[in-house]
Symmetry: C2
Subunit: 156 residues, 2 copies
Amino acid sequence: MNSRVAAQDPNKPLHQALAEFRRQLRKFLLASENAAFEAGLQPQQHQLLLAVAGAPAGRSPSIAYAADTLGLKHNSAVELVDRCEGEGLLERAEDSEDRRRVCLRITPRGRKLLDRLSHVHLLELNSQGPQLIESLENVLRNQHRQRKRTGRKQLG
Amino acid sequence: MNSRVAAQDPNKPLHQALAEFRRQLRKFLLASENAAFEAGLQPQQHQLLLAVAGAPAGRSPSIAYAADTLGLKHNSAVELVDRCEGEGLLERAEDSEDRRRVCLRITPRGRKLLDRLSHVHLLELNSQGPQLIESLENVLRNQHRQRKRTGRKQLG
DNA sequence: GCACACTATATCGTGTCACGATATACTTTG
DNA sequence: CAAAGTATATCGTGACACGATATAGTGTGC
């Protein structure tokens, strides 16, 4: 065995596929961050605006909602909102139903920036989305090959 | 005009679609980070291992390669390698062709952890990959609707 | 074979941000 | 209204990415 140079690591194809997928992911995320920077926002600020603007119809976008959506702890969300509010991107408003809650509302300025950013993202995804999908599908194709070696150890 | 409660923001469908896509993305990224933590690694350490293990055949994985792949500056990559090396996940080796370069090599321990993580990621993507793709395609569908309002301002 | 520009890696001080622990404000329940 | 539960806020800490800078190796012209 040990055909030629290869056969070094039977998991290599999987690692390569996953690495390529992450590469595509990062490419998009980097483009997104750059777009945010160019608009004068921190990436996280953009994400918060998007989360608030994209909140499902019936749901009032609170701090807790933001934390959940962005995968942050409550306190981190509070701080992020502080920063956004400080730059006039959004504002805290009273929640009519529960006065413990804060209802986040995007300012005209924030909305304008977000609209522009969303447009940029649409274009970006339109152009590199297919590659992203392909790299993901390529990972999944790997799974089939995996099955026949489930349980085996790599040769030590 | 102003039909019912809606019509508040003509960009809302786009924002919602993008927000949902980011939500899917974060779901995967969070799952990935958790998997890394459970293996005792920082997410970035996992990414570095994956990048090194998934390097294209001919390419020797240097610091610069790592920085480029992970979207980091050189110095940040150096620090990340320091941390990984400190935990015995990989080691610096001499590059035979260019002695300025460092050739990153995964240790047996690092490889074992990475193999396990890649397997977990494969399962994860197999189960939530389709949703990710769908949310992305849903964003792209939005683009068609966009065309007919290009250039118009939202009603003030 | 040495001065030069160029590239790769390393070090250090700084700033941002997420976090845990904790505090405060409001709601609900009894 | 007391107690328990939930939402938001504050503060100190730590991880990490960065810019600026330093060091080491490579290639070129002469």
